[in-house]
Symmetry: C3
Subunit: 114 residues, 3 copies
């Protein structure tokens, strides 16, 4: 009834699936100080996880973008605008917040299964 | 199955409706440096969007209030307390975060449809 | 159809239950400047609220941990790792943000009912 997809840490799941919804989170695998690159890689991780969980980017309901430096929001938006399904745009909030270590972006997604 | 209500940006939706739930976000249309005013206007935008989406404020489940300056939380609370349906109070979290430009508040809502 | 569990404030609910899901938020009852202690107490409050709402920690879907000082993330993680059900790990995001007064942690949870 609740499916959990493991990530790197034993005490958190990379994704949880329940009642037709997928809840997932991603950061960039590459920690280079480049917001565009990190956003692109975090979104690619989202694409892979949604696929594993029986969803895809056209089924995203909500996105929360936590950005370490809001002055770099344009770089994040460039990666977002290239990636997003414009016919199925999610509700999105973008928030400046302190992230861990060299993370410049953390993305939290809720999506419907296909 | 997924309904999307457009906002000002082509790559995001102002609201998404799925399986009886409405997911929406709002900021203030007026960027005057007045937290009470901006909260009031953002909440009025929420009222309008919920109405479009077949919900209303008595059906709100959760609210996340992102506030640019937590020292102004009382001003936000004043607008909230005037607006909220006290017989149907949402679960709410209030978080200090960096917002875009002159935004002093950003509000993310999940509501049930009527 | 929407059940609301009252907290200390008349204009917010401590938890809301709708369509098999529980939405809740907690801070620590003790405001000592100790992230481990505050996290432990906030998680104990979550345990109690989930029980009232017909859920438990094995049914948590998502957790958002708002931390006043990200340099203390290890202390938060210690309390989390002791508390979490490792066979049913939630999707979790941890965000550094400004919190109210002496709060060092605020936890937002979505859980399925049993």
């Amino acid at each position: 009834m609740i499916e959990r997809i493991k990530g790197s840490a034993p005490t958190r799941s990379r994704a949880v699936v329940h009642n037709g919804l997928v809840y997932t989170v991603a950061v960039s695998s590459d920690k280079k100080p480049d917001v565009y690159l990190q956003t692109r890689l975090a979104l690619e991780a989202i694409t892979r996880t949604l696929s594993e969980a029986g969803s895809d980017k056209s089924h995203i309901l909500t996105a929360t973008m936590y950005l370490a430096d809001m002055s770099k929001k344009d770089d994040m938006n460039r990666a977002w605008d290239e990636w997003v399904d414009r016919n199925n745009a999610p509700q999105r909030a973008c928030i400046g917040a302190t992230l861990e270590g060299a993370d410049l972006i953390e993305i939290v997604i809720t999506a419907a299964q296909k």
